[in-house]
Amino acid sequence: MYPAKFAYEAPRSIQELLDLLARHGDDAKVLAGGQSLVPMLKLRFAAPELVVDINGVPGLDHLTEDPDGTLRVGALCRHVTLERSALLAAEYPVMAAAAPLVADPMVRSRGTMVGSICHADPQGDWASVLMALGGHIVAMGPRGKRPIAMTDFVVGPFQNALQPGEFAYEAVVPPPVGQRTGTYLKLERRVGDFATVGVAVSLEHSGGRVVRAGIALTGVGPATINAADAADVLVGKPLSEETVEQAARLAAEAAQPQADHRGSVEYKRHVVATFVRRGLARGEVVAA
């Protein structure tokens, strides 16, 4: 690997990190797991003046649930931690389904969920998951923390809403309003392949009805797609064949796929619909 020349800093505290980011602004790039940034450096697609390695910063690797049920995933929490988490396996079915589908075991042992979301690759899995869960990113900057809703965080392919001087401190999943179900389905040609199509379906049920729903799509547009219309038709009623079909159709319409070597436009839309159907079939819940 022969990247262009760059300076390297490894801050030891959040304050040091913020100072570095304040000083270097847009010329600095944060290195967490490095699974996206390092390939970009290798290919010289990214040539930052400064790489700020946050791996030595304490207090960023948390995976915790607040008493009110808010889930917090720190900037240094690795994919593998999420994959092996008993909490996620028990309470967060969409995240538990997605974690083992992210890239391959080598990437998962080093890469981070927050880093993957910041990379804003339309084929990244976690952005869809967090979007379907109605989550947000907590940005930290010179003026403290601020939440950025996942639906606002990705502003374009490989572009996020962080301002110069800010870094992504953690990803947050809000507390549930009902019983959580749902899943993440991904069509890939091989382990570690980017998704031909990925669909995150998240439901919360209460009193036999769907009280909250989120559907988000991976790999079928210039950015992660929030299929809000598809999710909305599910809310306020029990799941039925009719609403499932509507959601599948609306999600397929929300997709903006392009024909490429992974598949045709028609095929990708078809798989979106199929995965929404399958995801919702798994989302059925015995009346609580």
Binding site: K5, L187, R190, D193, T196, D260, H261, T274
Partner: protein, 793 residues
């Protein structure tokens, strides 16, 4: 005295652990990038971003200004030295650095040599090149279209994009047979471009010593002597002053047979700078510019009698050669051994035509675990067999039974001139069918179909010609395709063996010693094997096309037998009897009628240096050059079962049964490893792996995000079975095997998916059988083409 146990001394049939792994698993191999010479410089290549464009300006001044940049080479500088173009092994020419036009994306345009690889990259980034884009041609149809731009306008007399035309067989007899046929079956398909993609990319460390005039090149080559010959004949350097060393190789698969421009750049850069120059290709450089496999279009017909007998076959192949005809292909046949198709079937008549096309794509065509287009031949054959059986309404296994050659039919001449040596085809097929439970699966399949589940079974049976030469029909640059071995037995009975082959994962260091153990009774552990250094190895043609065991392995046997013949004279001397009274058993000579009076091979070795008979030349060593009388013809039967998800087109492999008859197995463990590796690659090609191009000639498949290698996770399990028909003309009865599964395997996977779909309208889905293509076939009930261009332009 009890005779030696051959397996215990590591002879034939011993699954001896690989000697070379002792260093590889410890990370102690010496690969090209491990070679560091004092004062060494580093080289990087600026490649064309465009597929077809005229070069209007090259400005290297900014690169020259970077501290640490030592040399910037352009095509113009090469041209001044008459090195801008080089001859290829297929008697064409190839640009070493582009002068006039670039003809494929990734073509070499400028070379930068610097103190370290970072600076060399910076130098590449500082080179300014202006291009005037030209239309890109990415398939044979575009290439042959009227008015298509002439890609090779550098070649005098070239008025179109035809690379070659070739034919074989009896056209008139074939037409007569088709006129008399009850049924004519036809099939069109594309075998996509795939890439050998060894984990270690290509590279060289060139070291020209002005003091001695000697050029040493460490190089990732499967055929070091061919490179030495090429350098001597092309660059007109004296052959004794050229040393090519092929260190440990991190995979070859045919990718490391051709002579690439990068080697030439590194050699010239070392001569010009007076310092060693290292070039290590990066992964994209390897995938985008070096020898690929296939990219062939087939249009075939089969003339059939109603009872299932094949009367004749007719095929036309269009090959996409890329911008230069740069196959490293030693046969006298322009399209390699494509005409080995149908060799396992009793077919008397056939006719094949082929046309090569220049396109704006990387050059090559015969690499990737393939004996020179045998892979396409066997794929086409077995896809055609399935289509024909379907057209006849006949069971796939029964149709093969009707047409496979009988055991008594050998040797058998094919309609295209090959002489097939031996085999037990019907037995192999039956072993495979029994193993998979063919009849039971057919019942399961019918029951599953009632419930909307799509199960399928695919069969592929084939024999392929492995082990080029013979010298009549195979040569490289006029050098005949023999191979060689040199065996030197030391005083204490230990030995060193050198051959003209070059191992790159095949395990020669292990298996060659086993042949010596078999011939001489010297334990395999007492034999060290060396290959790859042209200053020490006997002249040989290298390792590819499954030729090592058929040719170099035979030479090992013959050299060992020469040693044994001399040792017999020594034994007679030691035992004080005449040579005619000396008998041999493994590892020992003894007196006829008095078996307790004997001399071991080790005692003979000691005597060869210390107590030789009067008048005998001291020493115990021999060299053998082996010119094989024929190719070897292994047979294989691969059977695959799959289930297709009708909603998504995703298919899962249920079982893979492989029955291989590669004659006598030297090391069964290594053979099984070869077969499993080949089946993995077959699965990859069938399911996920291809290099394609968009309409602008951008390669899709120039990195591991797009070009997929299967992992252990998705690779199916393999059930291996064995039948042994010794090769009648090989000294130890062995046949080639390295490529069988990669050659015969793909059709079994594809046939299984087509069988699962079970709709007569879907005659073909081009590989790879991506879920998208399978779903489209299910929706449209028609064949699905995978020919480029793909996606948006």
């Amino acid at each position: 005295m009890t005779a030696l146990d051959e397996v215990k001394i590591g002879g034939l049939g011993a699954s001896r652990l690989r000697v070379e792994d002792q260093r590889f698993v410890r990370g102690r191999g010496t690969y090209l990038d491990d070679i560091k010479l004092p004062g060494m410089l580093y080289m990087e290549i600026v490649r064309s971003p465009l597929a077809h464009a005229r070069i209007t300006r090259i400005d290297t001044s900014k690169a020259w200004q970077i501290p640490g940049v030592r040399l910037v080479l352009t095509g113009e500088m090469m041209a001044q030295r008459n090195l801008a173009w080089m001859p290829t092994l297929s008697y064409d020419t190839q640009a070493v650095l582009a002068t006039d036009k670039v003809r494929f994306q990734g073509q070499e345009v400028v070379v930068v040599v610097a103190d370290d690889p970072y600076i060399a990259k910076d130098g590449c980034d500082a080179v300014e090149i202006d291009y005037e884009p030209l239309p890109a041609i990415v398939n044979p149809e575009q290439s042959a279209a009227p008015g298509a731009p002439i890609i090779r306008d550098d070649k005098p007399g070239q008025t179109d994009n035809t690379c070659y035309r070739w034919e074989v067989g009896d056209r008139e007899a074939t037409e007569r047979a088709f006129a008399e046929a009850d049924v004519v079956s036809s099939l069109k398909l594309h075998y996509p471009r795939s890439h050998p993609s060894p984990i270690e990319c290509c590279g060289a460390v060139a070291d020209f010593d002005a003091g001695t005039g000697k050029l040493t090149v460490y190089m990732t080559t499967q055929a070091p002597h061919i490179v030495r010959a090429a350098v001597a004949l092309i660059a007109e350097l004296p052959e004794h002053q050229i040393r090519i060393v092929s260190p440990d190789i991190g995979g070859g698969f045919g990718n490391k047979v051709p002579v690439y421009p990068g080697y030439v750049h590194a050699i010239l850069a070392s001569i010009l700078t007076g310092r060693p120059v290292k070039w290590i290709e990066d992964k994209t450089g390897n995938l985008i510019s070096t020898g690929f496999g296939r990219d062939m279009y087939l249009d075939a017909q089969m003339a059939l009698r109603r009872d299932g007998k094949i009367l004749a076959v007719r095929m036309h192949a269009d090959t996409d050669q890329g911008a230069f005809f740069a196959d490293a292909q030693p046969s006298k046949f322009k399209v390699g051994l494509l005409h080995s198709a149908f060799a396992c079937y009793d077919i008397g008549i056939g006719y094949i035509t082929a046309q090569g096309h220049y396109t704006n794509k990387a050059p090559g065509g015969v690499a990737y675990r393939c004996s020179f287009r045998v892979t396409e031949a066997m794929f086409f054959q077995e896809r055609m067999m399935q289509a024909a059986a379907t057209d006849l309404g006949m069971d796939q296994a029964e149709f093969r039974r009707i047409n496979l050659r009988r055991d008594v039919a050998f040797p058998a001449r094919t309609p295209f001139g090959f002489l097939v040596d031996s085999g037990q085809y019907h037995k192999c097929l039956q072993v495979g069918l029994d193993a998979i439970g063919y009849d039971e699966f057919r019942r399961e399949q019918a029951a599953a179909r009632e419930k909307g589940r799509l199960l399928g079974i695919g069969i592929s049976t084939m024999t392929e010609p492995l082990g080029a030469g013979n010298s009549r029909e195979y040569d490289i640059l006029g050098i005949k395709m023999f191979d060689s071995a040199e065996l030197r037995v030391h005083l204490t009975g230990k030995a060193i063996l050198r051959t003209g082959a070059r191992t790159q994962g095949q395990g020669h260091e292990t298996t060659w010693a086993q042949i010596v153990a078999h011939e001489l009774g010297i334990p395999a552990d007492d034999v060290v094997v060396e290959e790859g250094d042209t200053d020490t190895a006997p002249y040989g043609m290298g390792t590819y096309a499954s030729r090592s065991t058929p040719v170099a392995g035979a030479a090992v046997s013959m050299a060992a037998r020469k040693v044994r013949a001399k040792a017999r004279k020594i034994a007679a001397h030691l035992l004080e009897v005449s040579e005619e009274d000396v008998e041999w058993e493994l590892g020992r000579f003894y007196v006829r009628g008095a078996p307790e009076r004997g001399a071991s091979i080790q005692e003979c070795a000691m005597a060869a240096y210390s107590n030789m008979p009067d008048g005998m030349e001291p020493g115990l060593e021999a060299t053998a050059y082996y010119d094989p009388p024929n190719l070897t013809w292994p047979f294989a039967c691969y059977i695959v079962t799959v289930e297709v998800d009708p909603e998504t087109g995703v298919w899962d492999v249920l079982r893979v049964v492989a029955v291989d008859d590669c004659g006598v197995r030297i090391n069964p463990m290594i053979v099984e490893g070869q077969i499993m590796g080949g089946l993995t690659e077959a699965y990859a090609m069938a399911s996920m792996q291809f290099q394609t191009y968009d309409a602008d000639g951008n390669m899709i498949g120039a990195n591991y995000m797009d070009y997929l290698l299967p992992t252990a996770w998705e690779t199916p399990g393999f059930e291996l079975h064995e039948v042994v028909t010794p090769c009648p003309h090989h000294p130890i009865g062995a046949k080639g095997v390295g490529e069988c599964a990669a050659v015969g395997g793909p059709a079994a996977f594809v046939n299984a998916v087509i069988d699962a779909i079970g709709d007569a309208g879907v005659r073909n889905i081009d590989m790879p059988l991506l879920p998208d293509r399978v779903w489209t076939a299910l929706q449209t009930r028609q064949s699905v083409s995978g020919a480029p261009p793909v996606g948006r332009s």
